[in-house]
């Protein structure tokens, strides 16, 4: 369906429910979802969505992922309070990746950093170059 319609003009529409039937969910029923801060263009994190998480995101306007470690829906911010408000949800040319433009409250990363990409390759090293905004002990008080 995505391939068949890639040469359509701007403004062309597909029914959402039918398009979701044609997403290229992996063998676990998931697609990668990239979260980007809508105004600054920071890439905050990458996680996974199943269909239920994607539909929940669109219905509620709060980003919801599928947690592979917990095996269930993960409403971003439900433990940490650091929610992602959905600005827009996009799907790529071959229907196998989601991009959510969001408004992130505070840190997106479980380490308390604004985003998850704090290791930068530099020659023969990886350098940690971003500091936490919030102590993770304060993000997840139940864990401590």
């Amino acid at each position: 369906m995505f391939k068949d319609n890639e040469q359509q003009p701007n403004g062309f529409t597909l029914p959402l429910a039918q398009a979701l039937d044609h997403l290229r969910w992996n063998e676990a029923g998931l697609v990668p979802a990239i979260a980007r801060q809508h105004d600054t263009g920071e890439v905050l994190m990458m996680a996974w969505m199943n269909r239920e998480a994607l539909e929940d995101t669109l219905r509620t306007g709060r980003v919801c992922y599928y947690s592979r470690s917990r095996g269930g829906l993960w409403r971003k911010g439900e433990s940490s309070g650091q929610t992602q408000t959905l600005i827009e949800l996009r799907i790529d040319c071959d229907g196998d990746t989601v991009l959510v433009n969001v408004d992130q409250t505070g840190p997106a990363c479980h380490t308390g950093r604004r985003d998850c990409f704090y290791w930068r390759a530099d020659g023969e090293q990886l350098v940690l170059d971003k500091a936490p905004l919030i102590d993770p002990a304060d993000l997840y008080p139940d864990k401590h």
Copy 2:
């Protein structure tokens, strides 16, 4: 290794080769790689890298992916001429996703569009809202 070092201070380093040993490559030996235009913050595309593609990217300064359809290295732009010059390569907190900040020549998408995320969810529809910069027939003349 990533988990063990998430509370290290800014400037802490890991040996790159050892860190790559600890990336969470999937069962096909791949990690997702997000390409972002370094200055505008556009998310251009998502593709996959194996270790060889990642090392090739760092060595050459041109972004190289692994093509799952072709089953081999995919030096971005080798057929289309639309290369991605590497600005910086980052790895996320749990070592399972790569972010490349790049300088993209022209369109990143095989459809001739600047980026691959041209389907936007809007109510019960997906709306195509980005037009090609270049006719794909001119991007891949060998295919036509």
